[in-house]
C-alpha cells in the first residue's frame, strides 16, 4: 500500500475517532458525485476533437473519475456541448438535456457553444445558454485539452459544494422554468 502510486481524494472535514468518522451528508455526497462525473459528449465540431484528446491517454480525463463516457443521456451527469450548435439543432440539444436525470451539469466547451463564436449569423444559436442552463464555460477556439480539464475541475468544485437539496429548491425550479423545462 505504501509504495503504491495511487492518489486518493482527501476526506472531507469531520470528526474522527476510534472506529468512526462523522461529517455532513452534503460533503460525502458531493465528494462522491464530484469524483464520478459521467460525461455525455455532444460534439459537433473541432472542440469535439480536442475532447477526444482529453479523453485519450495523454490527458486522461479518467483521472478525475470520468472514466465512463456515457453515450446515453439517461446515465450521464455532465453534458459537454462542444462545437457550433445551429438553431435547427437547438431543440435536439434541449431534448438530450431533458432526458438526463437529476442531478445534471452542463459545460459549454469552446467559443461557439458559449456565445456562437465567429458564427454571428442567422443559422447559429448564439450560445447554448439560450436553450439550456450552463454551469461552466470553457473559452477557446478550440480550447486545448488542459482548458477542458480545467473546466471539468471547476465543475467538480461546484459539484462538491452543491447542497443535496439544491435540485428541489424553488430557485432551481425557477431556473428550469425560465428555460421552460419541466
Amino acid at each position: 500500500m505504501s509504495d503504491s502510486n495511487i492518489k486518493m481524494v482527501a476526506p472531507p472535514e469531520g470528526v474522527s475517532g476510534e472506529g468512526f468518522f462523522a461529517t455532513t451528508l452534503n460533503d460525502v455526497v458531493g465528494l462522491a458525485r464530484a469524483n464520478s462525473l459521467w460525461p455525455l459528449p455532444f460534439a459537433t465540431s473541432c472542440c469535439g476533437i480536442e475532447f477526444m484528446a482529453t479523453m485519450a491517454s495523454h490527458y486522461d480525463l479518467a483521472r478525475f473519475g470520468s472514466e465512463r463516457v456515457s453515450f446515453s443521456p439517461r446515465q450521464a451527469d455532465m453534458l459537454l456541448v462542444m462545437g457550433t450548435i445551429s438553431k435547427k439543432m437547438g431543440p435536439i440539444l434541449r431534448q438530450v438535456y431533458e432526458q438526463m436525470a437529476e442531478p445534471r451539469w452542463v459545460i459549454a466547451v469552446g467559443a461557439c457553444a458559449s456565445s456562437g463564436g465567429v458564427f454571428d449569423t442567422y443559422s447559429v444559436l448564439q450560445g447554448i445558454d439560450k436553450v439550456i442552463p450552463v454551469d461552466v464555460y470553457v473559452p477557446g477556439c478550440p480550447p486545448r485539452p488542459e482548458q477542458i480539464v480545467d473546466g471539468v475541475m471547476r465543475l467538480q468544485e461546484l459539484v462538491k459544494s452543491e447542497s443535496v437539496r439544491r435540485r428541489s429548491s424553488p430557485e432551481y425550479q425557477e431556473l428550469l422554468a425560465s428555460y421552460n423545462i419541466k
Binding site: 438553431k87 435547427k88 456565445s115 454571428d120 449569423t121 442567422y122 447559429v124 448564439q126 439560450k130
Partner: protein, 173 residues
C-alpha cells in the same frame, strides 16, 4: 468531334428563337439567358436532343439583384453538364422580385427536388409543380429567406457584442 458552343447556340436559337438570348462565354463556361416561362422546355430540349445531350443537372441556385428593375430582381441559375463531351453550360432565368415564381424541373430531373427546396429556403423563390416545396436546411420556424440582400448580416439575438470593441463608437471610453 467535341461539342462547340456555336452548335449549342444555333440549335437553341433555331428552336426557341427570341426566348434564348445573351449568349456569352463567361470564363470557361458557355452561358445564356432564357425567358423564365420557357425554362422547362429549354432544359428538356438540352437533355433530350441527340447532339446536345446535356443529361446532367449539376446545380440550381438563386441570385438576388435588389437594384434591378422589379421584373429582373431574382435570377435562377441552372448548371448543366454533358458527360459525353465534358461540356458545361450555365442558364440564367430572371424572375419578378415581388412574385418570384418559376416552373419546377422535378419532372425532368428528380435531382432538382432538393436543389429547388434549397433555393426556396434561401431566396423564397416558388417552384410551381414541386412535389414538396418546404425548407430543407434552415429551421422550419424561420419566416425569412436569409440570402436575400435585405436580410441583416448579423444575428439580432447576440447579446455579448459591445460596440466599443468593434470600432463602431466615436469614443472608446
Amino acid at each position: 468531334m467535341s461539342l462547340e458552343s456555336t452548335t449549342v447556340q444555333d440549335k437553341l436559337v433555331e428552336t426557341f428563337g427570341e426566348s434564348v438570348f445573351q449568349f456569352n462565354q463567361e470564363k470557361d463556361v458557355f452561358s445564356f439567358e432564357v425567358a423564365a416561362d420557357k425554362i422547362t422546355a429549354v432544359v428538356l430540349f438540352l437533355k433530350n436532343d441527340p447532339t446536345l445531350r446535356f443529361h446532367f443537372l449539376t446545380d440550381i441556385c438563386g441570385v438576388h439583384y435588389p437594384d434591378n428593375a422589379v421584373e429582373r430582381q431574382f435570377a435562377v441559375v441552372y448548371h448543366m453538364h454533358n458527360w459525353y463531351e465534358n461540356k458545361r453550360i450555365k442558364i440564367k432565368a430572371f424572375i419578378n422580385g415581388e412574385t418570384p415564381e418559376i416552373k419546377s424541373l422535378t419532372t425532368i430531373f428528380p435531382g432538382a427536388n432538393w436543389m429547388e427546396r434549397e433555393t426556396y429556403d434561401f431566396y423564397g423563390i416558388i417552384f410551381t409543380g414541386h412535389p414538396q416545396l418546404k425548407r430543407i436546411l434552415n429551421m422550419d420556424e424561420m419566416v425569412s429567406h436569409p440570402m436575400r440582400k435585405e436580410f441583416p448580416m448579423e444575428d439580432g439575438g447576440r447579446t455579448d457584442k459591445d460596440d466599443r470593441f468593434f470600432g463602431r463608437t466615436a469614443f472608446n471610453g
